[in-house]
Symmetry: none
Subunit: 217 residues, 4 copies
DNA sequence: GATGAATGAGTATTCATTCAT
DNA sequence: GATGAATGAATACTCATTCAT
């Protein structure tokens, strides 16, 4: 919040991801911090996690921590990053948007997203909870990424509707609801414990897709 | 060392709601505190809201505040209360469970819940975010109330399925998804601003119900 | 500490003890306060006892309390009073100082003091502990009263020494030690629990007197 | 929620006293805190001494204080420690218990204890006053140490009684009284100011011992 | 005299962040 | 880069005392 400091403050605006990024020991250290801190944020909440907690968890001296990150808030921002990118990359990689069959397109996408989200459910929950703490500038970026995912689904739905395979009145709204439904598990896991991972995935997929496909009304 | 306080500690054990409750000026004051504090929790988050903030917002002296509430946590608990009860009361009052037509039953219920939730969206969002801060004992109560609502919808869905009006594989899961979908607006309002209240309500209702009724798969 | 307020502030300088003192309902109330507060001071210590505690214990409204006493400190002062007077009165009443036999004089006095102190041991302990809180002016009075008792014993001892019945080098010192020894039980009761009241009284009396009488050295 | 602190919490469990303890600058700092705080406790009482007072007195920043101690109570506990150990160590070192002559044994012991107590009279007084504040667990330890001293004297007295040198009915009681008498000066110094240190020591020693030795009754 | 709400200064403790070494 | 002590502002909560009714 303070000010653009020196150089380090690439955190929010960063994503260097140059080839050498992971061989950079400083980057590696930063990653460790974010990972451990995220675990703590998940367990105790952002506000209740102290820098001392993070120092202890990472085995990095409290003062030294600040050689890698700028502020506690900074860690949260770094923690938020990268949770959408893998999703978008998967769409790219799998060439989903080039599929002809809308139904297959939808099914594959929904299944994949459900799986990805299920596996990082704790992080998702944390994000829902701690979003408010984000600095506005960073919040915008996060919301934009969320929007990107919604746009992808909007396209898929609109495409299927054009081909009369899907029956939705408003593709944008449907995409919003769909993406929201993907988070059912992270936000309600306390009530869904009786299902196995596979049971959940099947049920969720079926329920989500039915609303797009069916023409009942 | 503490001491058995006085009676005040009705917070977790429920507000009395006796006929005279609202004529009790102390009760009124407590209500004011909770209301103003809730606004602050919504705006800044629970942890970031200080007791001084609350004192300022209520125009009640900081020390005096503690004549009405026991602790900051206490205020949060009081704030959580009463958000589910109106829902359950409505079901009772309207005799929803006695309706014969499952479709009508479902439509009326979903519409009503969407409306109620839309109108307290900020409070709902706050609850999603601050749940972790709740003392375990109180958390249990809150989750139980949430469960009550799910149970009602589970009954409606199971009833309609028995009559072959609805087509769902797992009524419990469907009820969970349905109740979750009701919160679409509070949790994603930032992306749904382009819809008017009525537009949103119609779209949401249609989308939610379609997944229950349709037999496509 | 504040100031000599109105009239009420007779507390420290008081001892009205007029015939009507106890029929004065205000005085009665004050007495109740002091008695109950003393109990609390004994149990929890002066600093740890709050005015709210005292209000609860006396069933007198917190604000109303201040119609009878001036301050918390005031209560402590009132509590200190009157613990020496009964002792001095006993000496007067019994005509101890007029006895001829120094040994009998000493024995009767020591026994009586031991009994009196044993029966208010908690109050004595409290006084040892909370003396520091007393306002200097009042402290002086208390110490003076303590001194009065020492003086009485000094006279008895000096008298016995003159008659060659007692063998002490320094009657003033001996009196100091004697009066101090009287408080053995209040200050060390945790280690003397195995004695009955009578056992303790006998042992203490014997030990105290032996040091005065004997000529061994 | 707390967290297992670090190692610091050796307070109740005793200071390590390893050879290097005093070269440890942190230990030195802690010692400074305890020493300065003890002075304040003596002067103003524990409850009336604030952490800010202690910070000011030690010239250590208020927050920084907590890098060395865990709580205010912790300081009091640390302050209580070590006041009995030197006594017991002296008995060991001087081989007092191995002396044959009970009278010499008693005289040396009483003299030494009187001296030691005289020189820390303020601390002793403080302990009498603030004992109540101690956490029960720690209180037990303190009382045990007190008991150790009493036991030593009990042995000496019993030994002398067996040899018909001392004449006491109940060695345990006599030891209790004796140890109590040792504290005459700390608790009554306000009335003994007219004696020099040596005068006091001589008088006290004589008085205490006479009660043990003499067979008058 | 009785009530209970109000006041405001104070309390121990915490914590993100900085800095000298 | 690493260390751990230092900083100072903040935090929830308390309490003796006052005051309007």
């Amino acid at each position: 919040m303070k000010q653009a400091k020196t150089v380090k403050r690439n955190s929010v605006g960063r994503t260097p991801k140059t080839a050498g990024a992971f061989s950079d020991p400083a980057e590696k250290r930063r990653l460790l911090i974010v990972k451990k801190a995220t675990r703590l944020f998940i367990k105790k909440g952002y506000s209740q996690t102290t820098m001392r907690d993070i120092a202890r968890a990472t085995n990095i001296n409290l003062g030294n921590l600040y050689n890698y990150i700028d502020s506690k808030e900074d860690i949260l921002c770094l923690s938020f990053e990268d949770y959408h990118d893998p999703a978008m990359e998967w769409f790219e990689r799998e060439g989903i948007m080039k599929l002809d069959d809308p139904r297959q397109q939808l099914e594959k996408s929904v299944r994949r997203m459900l799986v990805m989200i299920y596996d990082v459910m704790n992080e998702i929950l944390m994000m829902y909870r701690e979003t408010r703490v984000l600095p506005p500038k960073f919040l915008k970026i996060v919301l934009q990424k969320e929007n990107d995912l919604i746009s992808v689904f909007e396209k898929i739905i609109a495409g299927g509707a054009a081909k009369k395979v899907f029956h939705v009145r408003d593709p944008f709204f449907a995409a919003n609801m769909l993406v929201f439904q993907l988070s059912l598990f992270p936000l309600r896991s306390w009530n869904l414990k009786k299902y196995t991972r596979e049971e959940y995935l099947d049920l969720a997929q079926e329920t989500i897709i039915k609303a797009i496909i069916s023409d009942a009304g």
